[in-house]
């Protein structure tokens, strides 16, 4: 038997474990192993090494999963109000932008309604101011309530 055959057999033994063998290679290797004690022993050593690796025991720390579940749960709860607050601030900013852009148009509407109903200009300005400040006031109130709830928790 040539040295090349042994080298090929050793390579195929590893190849079988790592990425699998084509049928022809598999048949050649089987034939070789039947007639070569040294390569057969190498194949057995590889098989045993992999089996030992597969079956290597690892002891898990006590309650690892339960402790992780608890901490992940806490983090999920903490993240929830943060997400809601973020959404709230975005809506506040959007509403302010919309308010500023639409303010001249809305004021004209107020003026027309005031003239039609005969409401004094001071009252009109007050109501217009409230209309403009109300969304921000509501957002601030919700934000304060949420903060209080989180602190209580």
């Amino acid at each position: 038997m040539r040295n090349d055959d042994h080298a090929r057999a050793r390579h195929l033994i590893d190849c079988e474990a790592v990425e699998g063998l084509e049928r022809d290679d598999r048949e050649w290797l089987d034939r070789h192993l039947e007639s070569c004690d040294a390569c057969s022993a190498a194949a057995l050593a590889t098989e045993r090494a992999i089996a030992r690796l597969r079956l290597a025991p690892v002891t898990l720390p006590l309650d690892l999963a339960a402790r992780t579940q608890y901490r992940v749960g806490l983090r999920a709860q903490e993240a929830l109000p943060r997400r809601q607050t973020w959404a709230l601030w975005v809506s506040v900013v959007l509403s302010w932008i919309l308010g500023i852009v639409s303010a001249p148009l809305v004021w004209r509407g107020f003026e027309w309604a005031g003239r039609y109903a005969g409401v004094p200009s001071v009252w009109l300005k007050l109501v217009f101011g409230l209309w403009w400040a109300l969304p921000a006031g509501l957002a601030a109130a919700i934000w304060a309530m949420e903060n209080r709830k989180i602190e209580e928790q």
């Binding site: 590893d14 790592v18 030992r52 690796l53 025991p57 690892l64 992780t68 901490r71 992940v72």
Partner: protein, 187 residues
């Protein structure tokens, strides 16, 4: 439902659940992958304490970045990639080096009795001694291939290396492992 049956993960449902940050799903995954993930982290960090910290950190990342899992790749591949990146981050913070610098696994006890500890050390020690002498890069691919049964492309994804590099590490690692185990067996 997350799974079509108890063993076959439905990746699309899994991805949707992670996007929703479904607490029941996360609890289920933590239990399901606890052994494999801890074993992988232990293999990379060589320290039970560090592996435990990174185990929890990995699940925080899964919670925070669950929307990044699309379901197109295997969940375990994604999970191990997160874990591996955390190990690399940790080692960069400690010393700017790669996985090569990791040492042989040291397995201290949690609080077992001396008798339990001795028995466990005997069981685990022999294998870990042999494995621990291998370079971390080789140890890692051997573990992913033969313990986690990941395919070669999945391993390439996890270790962020080209397929030929993964194969080369596997062949070299296998050869070294055989030698180490042969020696430890002979001792």
């Amino acid at each position: 439902m997350w799974f079509a049956d108890s063993l076959t993960p439905d990746r699309t449902a899994l991805a949707a659940g992670l996007r929703r940050r479904d607490p029941d799903l996360l609890d289920h995954l933590i239990v399901q992958y606890q052994y494999r993930l801890f074993r992988y982290l232990l293999c990379l960090t060589a320290s039970r304490e560090t592996a435990e910290d990174l185990f929890q950190e990995t699940w925080f990342r899964v919670l925070d970045r669950g929307d990044q899992y699309t379901g197109k790749t295997s969940f375990e591949g994604w999970l191990f990639t997160i874990a591996r990146n955390l190990v690399i981050d940790l080692h960069r913070r400690r010393k700017p080096d790669s996985l090569d610098s990791l040492e042989a696994p040291d397995v201290p006890a949690d609080n077992p009795s001396p008798l339990d500890e001795a028995a466990r050390r005997q069981r685990e020690g022999r294998m870990e001694e042999s494995l621990g002498r291998l370079p971390a890069l080789h140890r890692e691919v051997l573990l992913l291939r033969f313990q986690e049964d990941l395919s070669l492309p999945e391993i390439a994804q996890v270790v962020n290396a080209p397929l030929p590099t993964v194969k080369s590490r596997l062949y070299r690692g296998l050869e070294m492992m055989r030698q180490e185990m042969g020696e430890s067996h002979a001792q």
